[in-house]
Symmetry: C2
């Protein structure tokens, strides 16, 4: 098994480089002094290039070829070789010169997007976006696909998913969600959230976030919580998965929900066992499955009446001004629904509508059924159809997200899939964990974490997302669980007749 | 000049690896989660090994050989080739297998030292220390020397210094310092420092440290202040030099002086110009010169009456309990002298005596005039002779410092040299900067920083320490400046007749 050892040693070397890169990047977003950014970019570039070169080396190719032909490998090693081979093939599909030109154009495009968004000037951004869409088309051809070039791209984020399958998921979701939101707005009683107005000092918000993460059994011995402009979770290496949040002093719940959301990602990561370290399998099964874990903790748990039954006294300890506000009023206020312009601020009911619209446009763009210059109008149309609101300008419309400016096409659906998977997974948890709501209302969150670890986390990237979902829930992706959840919960919150 | 470009590119690649390693190490001592240490050591090991391999590569050797023969290089490039050639030769002098075995034995020795010190059991540590001294002897032979193997080792820390020259520096210093300390203790009036007893919250101490660093014009845009068990300064990369301190709640001045000390190191580093980045010259001229900068700020400035004239109101703002304490009493309390057992806690008068003792023993050890097993007794003897105090056990005696356990022989004198250089440099500053004491008493510290930058910092590692000192002060190392400073200042503080 000399080849297997060499293969593992090479993966470990790459893993160490990537670990260094992760720390450098984390530091770039947390503690780096402002004047150090320029040099840091060079250091990160150097390490990323070395890692890429080692991963796509002929040496790696030769190991993979030989190992793929062996039938004496353990199941784990087989899974590693399978995953790594797939990544290897994709990385090798793009000529290095093309990729290098893309990284240069991408950074210009992101820069142009930032400026164009600030100036609310889509015309200035248009040529850059056109170039990025061209790259996406080229990459799709190089990766290869059967039906739709979109399938070649979504593979990076949700292996095995296709545009055709996405359409079958989106169709019933849209058909029910659009009228349901309308009904909530027209017939429902919106919760009073006036008591959430006020100033909430950052250090107190931090106490609340820490207590919530402790309650979730996030392991602070293998992670930490810091502050960044945009919250994120990062695996620096084994036993080191860090999360960040941000404290808006006029918005108490923003930091709370983002800490719990990132905490959900981090629990997934902390649940990946040591035997998967630096094997190519020490990551989540897909972006969508990862998002299902963050959303499950944020929404299914963190926005539930049971959770607040347990956690409200803790919140009141830190913010005594809520003493006079009944638990039920607080719970309802934390679940306010409002069709709005900005995806990242959307509630859990309207969120998926923002994604459908993006999928529709990016899939059409990639297939050349529409052109970049038509996007602003098409965006406004779709917002009107899906959410009933129309952005007053492109900065709050088609230019609100960074993704397309970086050539990321096929990425958005993961967010939606996370929302659908989590409802489906949570339904299974409710069936399999004895009295889960009762446990949550007593603050006993460990059984849920352990169940998720046993069913999902410990497998890392061994299974495809679809295979994993099938193993956990006994079914493929089905939007009905999300729809049932939303209809029941929000029918009650909005007191629909 | 193709070779020159390739040489610079290789140095830059090494610089980037080292920058990543510095951040990984900084994080290991500041923010890393406890369970991540094991994996982190592997990541650091990998990057350090890569850097070492590139630095000692045949490729580098060939560049250096060709560039050394060229006479068309700029002065800066010549200096780079000269320095890097010297380092290259030293690194190549040790066979890789020997060095690898040394790193393994060293980590066992450090571990053994830690345990032996805790158990106060020198006998348990003796075989490890013996092995480390053997390594030092082997390395000295491999590096080569003219007179004394000690000279081969001190070269790492203070290029150009020799044991013989150290003896000529130490002799007059000891001859005057030992009786002077005795006189202070016997005839002097010790300052009352009872008002420094109390509890000083860490967050308030931090405010004081930050204000002191701001006053010194430490650039927070290119650095930061964090907390660690043992304070240190580290250059992460260009425009990123971080310092750390520690807050002992029962000792207000400990964090203040260690922040100012590290700030002095950091000002040196921040004053190294961009053109030296990743050239082999972007560091201090030597450990001793570096220490002269930290000690100059800590002692010459930070313990001066002028500084406290300016800074005392700031301290009182944060700690109003000092309102009733006269400035002069505070100044004198901050300058208390006490012969004590532990080097790192020594005041500026007795500090050098701790170093002389170590030099005397390590030089004799290396030359086999004494044996490791004799060290505890010889230590006690020397403490009695130099400081008039005798450690009650070896943990507070010969085993107090980590250095020898790691094979670091020839390192200690740098601390003493820093103390001598700083007095000599400061004397020159007093002559060249118009009304420096007046400026300091008004909080105008920028002229001093700029003078140091102009005379020392901007040259990085271009000059040997002796050459640099000559350029700045017009003389070689001379202990009289330190002795004059100490006699004048402490004669007054202790009210000697």
């Amino acid at each position: 098994m000399e080849i297997l050892d060499s293969y593992k040693a090479l993966l470990a070397e790459i893993g160490k480089l990537d670990s260094a890169t992760s720390l450098l990047s984390w530091d770039e977003r947390t503690y780096i002094p402002p004047k150090a950014h320029e040099a840091r970019a060079k250091v990160v570039g150097k390490l990323a290039k070395m890692s890429f070169e080692q991963f796509t080396s002929d040496e790696m190719g030769s190991y993979l070829e030989k190992l793929s032909a062996m039938d004496t490998l353990s199941d784990l090693d087989k899974a590693s070789v399978k995953r790594v081979s797939k990544d290897y093939k994709r990385f090798r599909a793009i000529p290095p010169a093309l990729y290098e030109q893309y990284t240069i154009d991408r950074s210009q495009s992101e820069f142009a997007w930032e400026k164009a968004r600030a100036d609310n000037d889509f015309t200035a951004f248009e040529p850059y976006l056109t170039k990025m869409v061209d790259y996406a088309r080229q990459f799709a051809e190089l990766f290869g696909y059967e039906e739709n070039p979109y399938d070649a791209l979504i593979e990076d984020y949700e292996p095995g998913m296709t545009a055709a399958e996405l359409k079958t998921i989106i169709e019933p979701l849209r058909a029910e969600l659009v009228p349901f939101v309308q009904r909530l707005m027209e017939e429902g009683t919106p919760p009073d959230d006036s008591f959430l107005q006020g100033t909430f000092p950052a250090d107190k918000q931090k106490q609340v976030s820490l207590k919530a993460l402790e309650a979730m059994h996030y392991d602070f011995g293998a992670g930490r919580l810091d502050v960044t402009a945009h919250p994120f979770t990062t695996r620096i290496g084994p036993h080191d998965t860090r999360i960040t949040t941000r404290y808006l002093e006029d918005n108490l719940l923003s930091s709370f929900f983002s800490s719990v959301h990132e905490g959900g990602h981090a629990l997934y990561d902390q649940g990946i066992p040591d035997e998967l370290t630096w094997s190519g399998l020490d990551d989540g099964a897909s972006m969508g499955i990862h998002e299902s874990q963050s959303r499950l903790w944020e929404n299914m748990v963190g926005r539930s009446r049971e959770f607040w039954h347990f956690f409200y006294p803790t919140l009141i300890d830190v913010f005594p001004q809520f003493e006079g506000i009944p638990l039920d009023s607080f719970y309802r206020a934390a679940n306010r629904v409002e069709p709005s312009l900005i995806r990242v601020e959307a509630d859990e009911v309207t969120y998926n509508l923002h994604i459908m619209l993006r999928f529709e446009l990016e899939e059409a763009l990639l297939n050349q059924r529409i052109e970049v210059r038509e996007l602003p109008d098409l965006w406004r149309d779709a917002m009107k159809r899906y959410l009933g609101v129309v952005p007053p300008d492109d900065a709050q419309g088609v230019m609100q997200d960074v993704h397309w400016s970086a050539g990321l096409i096929g990425y958005f659906p993961s967010y939606m899939l996370g929302n659908l998977y989590d409802a489906q997974i949570y339904r299974t948890a409710l069936r399999e964990i004895d009295d889960l709501p009762g446990k949550i209302s007593r603050g006993e969150l460990l059984p849920l974490r352990e169940w998720l670890r046993d069913k999902i986390h410990r497998f890392g990237r061994i299974y495809d997302p679809k295979e994993l979902l099938q193993r956990v829930t006994g079914e493929g992706p089905d939007p009905q669980y999300f729809l049932d959840y939303v209809r029941t919960k929000y029918g009650e919150v909005y007191r629909l007749k």
